[in-house]
């Protein structure tokens, strides 16, 4: 059930009406039932996968929590009779037991994710290697990826690790925990919420709040407008440009970089706006996932502002633990001894590259994503290494730093750099992507931009204008909403503006949305991850 479907609208309307009609103490139960129904719609078999994750994580977390409490209580009771070393040894033993539970659960859940997502990728690579050696071929397996598995697995595992670290207590109710894992607005494309954040409003009773509902509806409609008016409209010329790379090289590749950046932004932030808006209509606060990423001045900042919850997940649960792990500490020691000051940074960069390798792999089982991830890591490492040079440059031209012109240069540079790396998402394979990027230098004919060729890519002049107006509206909202979102500011002036905004957005979506016969409302791009 896509967010951009009439089934979803009908489902949401029914759920919404019942939600505010029943006693507040039962609201979370309705959300759970609704979420399971939503997930069942994608295929009953998907419920088995998410059920395994919810149940194993729930029991593992409860066990880890109980062990920690039991060990603490025992220690408090016997503190007087134990020496410092004995206490330390006791703690270490307890931690090892808890770690075994953690590891077991992580292996089960990441194992399931790895099997369904990467088996055929591994088989494909094995076949490529075998064909080089003149061997036979392994058959690929009929794997179907359960909806949202990458998102809910990471969310559940984040919770488990938090429980293990003692950052949050284990949830006592299996039903409530299942709701945390399956909460339908964020099930298919995130954000990857933390238990501590989401649980604050997820289980509470919510009374009717017209303002919150209007604001939530407006945000969801804004997201739908981004998706249906901009993203799905740009998807049409993009499909044409990517389908025939031989014909569309040079300046068209620059167009792909630009258009895909806008399309992905409209698609992904549109989906997240719907998620956050729908949750808000139900009284639930979901973490923001974007912070005006296209205004970033460098790659590291961009990744702090784009898909924030994924970035922080990898940072907190992979990068930090990996940085203080024994092998990395050993590497750090060795490199420092051997290479001095630069050597100190080798271990950090190694962790960075591993992080970006995994991030790429998380996005998809293909070399395109792996190379995409690694390139992001390399760009960030290079910019960190070049920092002294930048400092020298700014010392030479002190008026440049902080000036609007220089900020704009940095923003545009980051936009195009990130966009160039991102085209690995769209072309068939890595060599083709680099070949296409090469044509920008070897076969760029700028005249194509204004000789009418772009009107032959599947959409006409009017559609280009609508897409440009939509992208312009997104840009304006980003510029004006630096401190506070535009819709919040307008609604403060008059509550009528929130309702008026909803009505205007409905009209715009109905008229200019790309849907109906002849158009397939495309799946949200991040659904596939």
């Amino acid at each position: 059930m896509s967010f951009a479907s009439t089934q979803f609208l009908a489902f949401l309307a029914a759920l919404f009406l019942v939600y505010y009609a029943i006693p507040q103490r039962h609201q979370w139960k309705l959300l759970l039932a609704g979420s399971l129904f939503f997930y069942w719609f994608a295929g009953w078999w998907c419920l088995i996968y998410i059920g395994v994750t919810a149940v194993t994580t729930y029991f593992a977390a409860r066990k880890i929590d109980a062990l920690a409490r039991g060990q603490e209580a025992w220690l408090r009771e016997h503190k007087a009779g134990l020496s410092k070393e004995e206490r330390k040894a006791w703690k270490a033993r307890g931690k090892a037991v808890r770690f075994r539970w953690l590891l077991g659960c992580l292996l089960v859940n990441f194992g399931v994710l790895a099997v369904v997502k990467y088996t055929n990728f591994v088989i494909g690579n094995a076949n490529a290697a075998l064909s080089l050696l003149g061997g036979g071929q392994l058959p690929s397996l009929p794997m179907v990826l359960p909806m949202g598995i990458s998102f809910y697995t990471f969310q559940a595992m984040g919770y488990l690790i938090d429980v293990y670290w003692g950052k949050c207590p284990a949830e006592r109710s299996l039903g409530r925990f299942a709701l945390f894992v399956t909460f339908f607005p964020q099930l298919i494309q995130g954000p990857i919420s933390r238990f501590g954040d989401l649980s604050r409003t997820l289980y509470a009773g919510h009374s009717w709040d017209s303002r919150q509902i209007a604001m939530g509806a407006e945000r969801a409609l804004w997201g739908l407008a981004k998706k249906l008016i901009v993203a799905d409209r740009l998807a049409i010329p993009l499909r044409t440009l990517v389908a025939d790379p031989e014909r569309y090289g040079g300046v068209y590749v620059l167009a792909v970089i630009f258009l895909y950046a806008v399309q992905l932004y409209a698609d992904f932030t549109g989906g997240i706006d719907i998620t956050i808006g729908v949750a808000r209509m139900l009284g639930v606060q979901v973490t923001e996932n974007f912070q005006r990423p296209f205004f970033s001045k460098n790659a590291a900042e961009y990744w702090r502002r784009w898909h924030i919850t994924m970035g922080t997940w990898f940072r907190d649960y992979l990068f930090y633990p990996m940085s203080v792990s024994k092998p990395i500490l050993k590497l750090h020691q060795r490199c420092r001894n051997r290479f001095g000051r630069f050597g100190k940074r080798i271990s950090v960069h190694t962790c960075s590259l591993i992080l970006w390798f995994v991030t790429g792999l998380w996005h998809g089982a293909s070399w395109n994503f792996i190379v995409w991830g690694l390139l992001n890591g390399i760009v960030i490492i290079i910019s960190q290494e070049l920092e002294p040079l930048y400092d020298k440059f700014h010392a030479r031209f002190p008026r440049l730093k902080g000036s609007r012109g220089w900020d704009l240069v940095q923003v545009l540079r980051t936009f195009w750099l990130m966009g160039t790396i991102r085209v690995l998402d769209v072309y068939r394979d890595v060599p083709l992507t680099f070949r296409q990027l090469g044509t920008v230098l070897t076969g760029c004919r700028p005249g194509t931009l204004w000789d009418g060729s772009f009107l032959e890519l599947g959409i006409g002049g009017g559609d280009w204008l609508v897409a440009a107006a939509g992208a312009g509206a997104m840009l304006a909202c980003s510029l004006l909403g630096r401190r506070e979102p535009v819709r919040e500011r307008l609604a403060r002036h008059s509550p009528h503006l929130a309702w008026g905004g909803c009505v205007a957005l409905i009209w715009l979506i109905l008229i200019f949305g790309v849907y109906g016969i002849g158009f397939d409302a495309s799946q949200f791009i991040y659904n596939q991850f």
């Binding site: 017209s210 200019f512 109906g516």
Partner: protein, 347 residues
């Protein structure tokens, strides 16, 4: 709380009014182009009842002239025809018509028996968009939808026609709330002449049987007419193409005999009627032009008077007033179209 409810009601009303306006604006008007799309809705503007209702595809709305039936026989009739009308659409139109009036005779053209499945979204729209919202319309939509279509878009046509935003013209504004009359009691007049030459023979088919669904709907039509005391007459219009196979003819003849229905295949009567396919067709034999349609109607009017319980109503004031106006419009249209056609063919 009261203020919130007032605001919600206000904005709800604005939303609905806007949606109504947008629906009206974006619906194709079928005034200057594809007038076939306007035929179904025109029926609701009829002021008097009819003794004969024609139901079917282009072979009825292009081949029969209700005006001639009135002028020469005093028979009141109307054609509820539309392009590639499928048999289930004909059935539901028949059912809907019987809500408004009970004619003496229903005439159904059997060509649509050849289509056992939904065919094309474009034709569905021409047939169904004009119907008023009713259980019959909903049933017709359900029966007609191709896989790509959505039921909701028949209730809110904006969902289908929103992509016309860059095709809107002054006509869409001009006809926002009203329509001109494009037909003469459902007859779409054409005075052009394009003789039938080299009419292709039908290529052999693997299976000549009509689909079970078509028989079901034909049965339902017969039952419906029987229930309402309406005489159902089956016809096959004298169109040379699409080809009408002997095997199809046999099946319809058998069916008509079995159900005690009249069946007239005009293809076998063209000589008697006087249809001349070198002068009486505007598209090489697919449809008759005005002159052919009047010949056919003249013959059929006589048959109706002889075989059906229809009456000459020319002396009845309420009918005469309406039909004389219609005749005047018919004559004016004929004159205008003939002048246009002579302009195109000065010889």
């Amino acid at each position: 709380m009261k203020r919130n409810i007032r605001a919600a009601l206000l904005w709800g009303a604005i939303l609905c009014a806007g949606l109504w306006l947008l629906n009206a604006l974006f619906m194709p008007k079928y005034m200057s182009d594809i007038p076939e799309g306007a035929l179904i809705a025109e029926y609701y503007r009829e002021e008097t009842s009819h003794d004969v209702i024609f139901i079917g595809d282009c072979e009825v709305y292009e081949n029969f002239s209700p005006d001639l039936l009135w002028r020469e026989y005093g028979v009141t009739s109307y054609i509820r025809g539309s392009a590639q009308q499928l048999i289930w659409q004909s059935y539901y139109l028949m059912e809907e018509t019987l809500k408004y009036e009970t004619p003496k005779v229903m005439v159904f053209n059997v060509l649509s028996m050849k289509y056992g499945e939904p065919q094309s979204e474009a034709y569905n729209r021409l047939n169904l968009d004009g119907m008023r919202l009713s259980p019959q319309k909903l049933a017709a939509v359900r029966a007609s939808m191709t896989e790509e279509e959505s039921f909701l878009s028949y209730l809110f046509p904006l969902l289908r026609y929103h992509a016309r935003w860059d095709e809107l013209t002054g006509e869409d504004v001009k006809y926002l709330t009203r329509r001109d009359i494009v037909s003469d009691s459902g007859y779409l007049m054409n005075v052009e002449v394009r003789p039938a030459e080299n009419v292709p023979a039908g290529r052999p088919l693997g299976d000549y049987s009509f689909a079970p669904a078509c028989w079901d709907y034909l049965d339902k039509m017969a039952d419906l007419c029987e229930k309402h005391g309406v005489r159902l007459v089956l016809i096959k219009a004298p169109s040379l193409y699409p080809y009408w196979y002997d095997q199809w003819e046999e099946q319809i003849e058998d069916y008509a005999a079995r159900r005690g229905l009249a069946y007239i295949n005009f293809l076998e009567l063209t000589g008697e009627i006087g249809v001349d396919f070198s002068a009486d067709t505007y598209d090489s034999g697919l449809h008759l032009n005005l002159y052919g349609a009047e010949k056919l109607s003249r013959w059929f009017g006589a048959w109706l008077m002889e075989n059906c319980p229809v009456e000459d109503r020319r002396s009845q004031e309420n009918y005469a007033r309406v039909w004389n106006e219609k005749s005047a419009a018919y004559a004016a249209r004929k004159e205008r179209l003939e002048a246009e056609w002579s302009g195109k063919n000065p010889a």
